[in-house]
Symmetry: C2
Subunit: 309 residues, 2 copies
Amino acid sequence: MIDRLIQKIKETGTPIVVGLDPQLGFIPDSVKSAAFREYGETLEGAAEALLRFNMEIVDAVHDLIPAVKPQIAMYERYGLPGLQAFYRTVEYCRDRDLVVIGDVKRGDIGSTSAAYADAHLGSVAVGEQRFVPFGEDFATVNPYLGSDGVLPFVKVCKEEDRGIFVLVKTSNPSSGEFQDRLIDGRPLYEWVGEKVNEWGEGTEGRYGYTEVGAVVGATYPEMGAVLRKLMPKAYILVPGYGAQGGTGRDLVPFFNADGLGAVVNSSRGILAAWTKETYASYGENGFGAAARAAVLDMKKDIEGALAEA
Amino acid sequence: MIDRLIQKIKETGTPIVVGLDPQLGFIPDSVKSAAFREYGETLEGAAEALLRFNMEIVDAVHDLIPAVKPQIAMYERYGLPGLQAFYRTVEYCRDRDLVVIGDVKRGDIGSTSAAYADAHLGSVAVGEQRFVPFGEDFATVNPYLGSDGVLPFVKVCKEEDRGIFVLVKTSNPSSGEFQDRLIDGRPLYEWVGEKVNEWGEGTEGRYGYTEVGAVVGATYPEMGAVLRKLMPKAYILVPGYGAQGGTGRDLVPFFNADGLGAVVNSSRGILAAWTKETYASYGENGFGAAARAAVLDMKKDIEGALAEA
């Protein structure tokens, strides 16, 4: 699946991932009231609002970008109807030929991790038939439990041509509490990075990258530079651009000399663009067009920074 | 909620948690065929089999135990129907006055962790009303992202009288890959344990325990002894008894001098008791009675070990 992601990056000419993390707070009233009229002010109504909002965003930007990253927590918050909106969002994006990165941050041990891997990247047998529970192309995975937690995902990646991004150095302010602590003179995130290499061995695709990538926050560009060298074959999923403070210039260290090696996520910066002064002229009902403009601006920002570098 | 858990432990006289991690592989054919007859060999049929199996297990053991721990991965594997079976399992257990520990191992940052906390421990607003998405009493939380990932859960714990168990030292063989690495002379799991204390501050209940507990595997009793002293006010959720190799004697270090401080989970050892030689006489359709016998044997094993200590 890493080959397909890279192919899409080449086709669209940009490494931008739109994070589909909808929140009722920035979904325009017109979308919410239409959903509530049909389903009431209920979990079903909220879930329908998330889905309709996503569909309009995806319609507005799908030709510009290689991939989307729905954050499952934003759907899980609305219970079963919310998770149905997640399912339908994944389906809608795959139908539009987008690579779907399920930001699920799952991770457990043995047969339990295998169950999560089946749920998000694989399929499950019931009697003679197999079913695809959620059907993402990539999933994010938490490494705290070690290889027992990650290898069941890698197994499914190999069997079903899927990929994962392992949390290495996350974008949040407190990520250093554990991730930066020194072990034999090197921070924990480097040790996790070494394991990412090990877990990915033998899964190289035709561009030399493996199915086991890493999450490294745009908010830590110096650590990104170190990790880029440490994990030369791992694609890096970079959150933290925009709303969390990362800029185009911060992204440069995450790329390899081949111009590949990183995908950059922006969520609120694009989904909620219509609420920002820069894009206010699109108005509430132009939220899709505002998102498109924000993607184009982000593309220019990244291109400019990479050209300067 | 920690007070209610302790109250239930006192009432039942045992710290046993039954892990509701059903797998089609050990669900008796009679249960599966009834479910498949009604819903077909589909995700719905599989989910119905999990639910019916759980209900019969819960009916057989609910008066003996304080709590259950459904592992959400085993339901997520069957997609939306599976998650509906999770929801209905939680509801069924709460109706039978059991404390429900959602083994969800969630963890993200900021507003995303808040969304998970709402989903599993809290409630969510839609318009004027609030809804309870999944409604567990406790959830397990992954600490890799630091305080940003955990504090949103603690906030909901305080507001809604709920609790969490943070992964500190997990029961699996490779848990040491990162968790045992030395930082300033002490293993990472001790540093996480220190944070558990910090996160729990100010949430002490009437028995002196906090709403922020810890997960420490029965398979590592010596580390359990250290962590028990390090986190005197944290309840420890102990997985790894039985199928993973932990014995009654291994559990002793996890308890405080007050006889409290730990709950011990067993999943397959109880759910699949009917498949074991010891309980074979109950037969396939006596799987509930076999589970009850396995709970009583486990209770005796723990009582014996604690009495000897």
